[in-house]
């Protein structure tokens, strides 16, 4: 009944092929853009149909494998091109194709007039294709195909302005860091495949098969190894410590790319993967704790950096890293639904924020271009007071900011609060819970602060753009604003599908739709958790209290931002001059990039150079050439036996014959 599922990735692939092969000939931007957007939109339609079919099934049967063809078989190893449709993948399908469609539409406006317009849409379609493979693949290998595929598209799109060195560098950095993660993913796959096959004769990498046999896995031990490997993969793709540094640099790409790939979809692949493998992760307490702690640290750490950045997209990038940290907290504390929930809401509001910032940059760029100024169009210090020029953008941006800050009633509140509550109350990590929750809460405060700092600096206050440019500022065309409106709407209401039970009860028993919907996916993990962990009872009043605290934190953050950037803007400057070292460190992202360069990149290069010049050329070739030289030297000595006098040759020849014959005679 899901026979048409293969159409979902097929449409973007067709779009990619058309735009990639013929785009240069088509030339007409509208046609190219429409093809791109239509391809993704068609996928969206099929996804919706699939979703409707899926929820028409009883919840126990909501997991369907659709095999297309056998990919490779060698010995015990078998991998198919096959899709898995279950609630989780279906949700991801909707998010990817839905937001993907909006961003494609947005891009038609945003990329207008860019060189290589067709190339952009081809890559974007290819990205959607890969992402769809990632979320629908029914085995680890196919997921890995998507996993690497999105990495590739990310590389291509970050390096879209390839003539800029920084863009090329950023693309390469993203790809290589992702590769480090992929290394972990591969090792995890191998270990999983080998261990299960070797010990239980089940040679499989298919998710449903693995989940079925989840009980064969022990607690900890090999599972910790496997899951840590997978988690390394997730940190690469989802920009967590220690592999997060590529994401801020990835902002070199066009803004729609940042919205689609580096906020809404690709970077959440790690979260999705952990959700997909939840039955395995839950069996390793060590890994769960690692995931949660890394998530919490990343959430906090990235948030601190976010407070000091002036580039509008960089702030959003660090915010993304930080929010991804939240999702990992959710995963790490066993609140898989909450993690996925945050993934979804984050996709809405962060996509909206990025697209909004894109609209701002677009407008700024146009205005600055008009007056031939070379000011940075992305620097917030050049903005301010934009709300009167771009009211719609401002409105959508504000809604999303409120959502991310965690103000009640907006989507971010529900998902973030759920994660924080679970971090506090989960039965897995004992006293470490306090650390996780503490970091999470602190990050929430910082988030509210830097996001509103962003809003205030960009849209409020006096207009700091170079004089004469402000009259060129204008609201963006409809093709850009429309996606913003849709996303803002989703950011506003998206949270209501996952209202916590506590609140739902208050409002007349609204169920947590999302939790029910995702239940079959995480059933195995939840059962295991129920059986193994001591569920401490927490009172409703505590939960209410923490929820209240979250709200307070959000407002405090907003208030601080208001005080510092609206009421008395001189304070930040004073602060900066009071603690110059601290500010410098934060502004320079704690010098992590430099540290990596110093510790890994440079040693590798010097080692390579040493091995080449030292070992290859000196030792190996030295030996080879040395042998040659010895032979030559020897020959140099004995060549004087070649006198050039024929009688010498004749004599020695006769002598040789005599000796040989003599030998046989006297033998």
């Amino acid at each position: 009944m899901f026979d048409n599922v293969w159409l979902i990735p097929l449409f973007p692939l067709i779009g990619f092929l058309i735009n990639g092969l013929l785009g240069k000939k088509i030339k007409n931007e509208t046609i190219i853009g429409s093809i791109g957007a239509l391809a993704v939109f068609s996928s969206f339609i099929v996804s919706v149909l699939t979703f409707i079919k899926l929820i028409g099934l009883p919840s126990a049967e909501r997991s369907v494998n659709i095999k297309i063809f056998t990919w490779m078989t060698a010995g015990t190893f078998n991998a198919d091109i096959a899709f898995l449709i279950d609630p989780l993948s279906c949700l991801m399908l909707l998010v990817v194709t839905g937001i993907g469609t909006l961003i494609h539409i947005y891009s038609i406006g945003y990329m207008h007039g860019e060189e290589g317009f067709y190339r952009f849409f081809a890559y974007l379609n290819l990205f959607v294709f890969s992402m769809l493979l990632l979320v629908t693949g029914n085995n680890l290998l196919l997921m890995f195909v998507g996993w690497e595929g999105v990495g590739l598209c990310s590389y291509l799109l970050i390096g879209y302005y390839f003539h800029k060195k920084s863009a090329g560098d950023a693309g390469k950095k993203a790809f290589v860091m992702n590769r480090v993660g992929d290394f972990g993913f591969l090792l995890g796959t191998f270990t999983l495949f080998w261990w299960l096959g070797q010990n239980h004769g089940i040679w499989t990498i298919q998710f449903t098969e693995l989940a079925k046999n989840a009980n064969l896995f022990p607690t900890g031990g090999v599972v910790t190894v496997i899951t840590l490997c997978f988690f390394l993969g997730a940190t690469g793709k989802s920009a967590q410590i220690p592999l997060y540094t590529w994401l801020p640099d990835a902002m070199e790409g066009p803004t729609p790319v940042s919205a689609l790939i580096h906020a809404a979809t690709m970077v959440t692949a790690g979260v999705y993967m952990i959700g997909r493998m939840s039955f395995l992760f839950i069996r390793s307490p060590e890994t769960m704790m690692t995931v949660a702690v890394v998530g919490a640290c990343t959430a906090f750490f990235a948030a601190t950096i976010g407070t000091a950045q002036n580039d509008i997209k960089r702030v959003l990038a660090y915010s993304t890293v930080s929010q991804l940290g939240y999702m990992f907290i959710g995963m790490g504390v066993g609140a898989f639904t909450a993690g996925i929930f945050h993934l979804m809401t984050h996709a809405f509001f962060k996509a909206c924020l990025f697209l909004g910032s894109g609209a701002v940059i677009h407008s700024m760029h146009g205005a600055l271009h008009h007056i031939h100024s070379h000011d940075d169009a992305q620097d917030m210090r050049n903005m301010g007071g934009l709300k009167k020029y771009m009211p719609l953008t401002y409105a959508t941006f504000l809604i999303s900011t409120i959502a991310i800050a965690g103000v009640p009633g907006f989507s971010g509140f529900f998902s973030k609060d759920e994660i924080l509550w679970q971090a506090f109350s989960n039965p897995l990590h004992g006293s470490v819970n306090m650390l996780i929750w503490g970091l999470g809460a602190a990050a929430a405060l910082l988030t509210a602060f830097y996001m509103f700092r962003l809003v205030f600096m960009t849209f409020h206050g006096t207009c700091r753009i170079k004089a004469g440019a402000e009259k060129h500022l204008h609201e963006s065309p409809m093709v850009i604003v429309f996606p913003l409106l849709v996303l803002a709407f989703l950011a506003l209401v998206g949270g209501y599908i996952g209202i916590p039970k506590l609140l739902g009860d208050v409002f007349g028993g609204i169920p947590n739709y999302l939790e029910h919907y995702l239940e079959p996916v995480f059933a195995n993990a939840n059962e295991y958790m129920a059986a193994h962990a001591h569920h401490a009872e927490h009172s409703h009043s505590l939960e209410w209290g923490l929820m209240g605290l979250s709200v307070v934190i959000a407002f405090v953050g907003i208030a601080i931002a208001y005080t510092l950037y609206m009421a008395s803007p001189e304070i930040p400057k004073k602060f900066t001059s009071a603690f110059p070292a601290l500010h410098r460190a934060v502004f320079n992202k704690w010098y992590i990039d430099e540290l990596y360069d110093f510790m890994i990149v440079n040693p590798c290069k010097s080692l390579g150079r040493f091995l080449w010049k030292g070992f290859d050329v000196l030792v190996v070739d030295g030996i080879v050439n040395g042998v040659a030289h010895v032979v030559m030297a020897f020959g140099g000595v004995i060549r004087y036996m070649q006198t050039g006098q024929i009688y010498n040759y004749a004599w020695s020849m006769t002598f040789g014959v005599v000796v040989i014959i003599g030998y046989y005679l006297f033998k």
């Binding site: 004087y640 070649q642 050039g644 006098q645 024929i646 009688y647 004749a650 004599w651």
Partner: protein
């Protein structure tokens, strides 16, 4: 008269004389003639054995050796002429380029 040994002794002596000639003379043409002498010594052995064994194969061999000698003479003498054209000499001492 059918004494094989006599012929072989003569052949050995002729061969040795030829060898000495090749090793001691400087004139390339004389050396060449000494080589012919050595070949003839061998030919004599062939014929003598052929006669003794009652088999004609040895004589056929001699026939081929003569052919080769003829070819050799043609090419060798041509080389001497070429050499002489270049060096105005037929001394093998002057052909000393094939050295280190």
């Amino acid at each position: 008269m059918d004494n094989l040994n006599n012929y072989l002794i003569v052949s050995a002596v002729l061969f040795s004389i030829g060898t000495i000639g090749v090793l001691t003379r400087k004139n390339a043409i004389v050396m060449f003639m000494c080589i012919e002498l050595m070949l003839n010594a061998v030919n004599l052995t062939f014929v003598a054995f052929s006669r003794h064994l009652g088999n004609l194969d040895g004589q056929i061999f001699v026939f081929f050796i003569m052919t080769v000698a003829a070819a050799e003479a043609a090419v060798g003498l041509a080389m001497f002429i070429a050499f002489f054209n270049n060096r105005e000499s037929i001394d093998i001492d002057d052909a000393n380029l094939m050295k280190w």
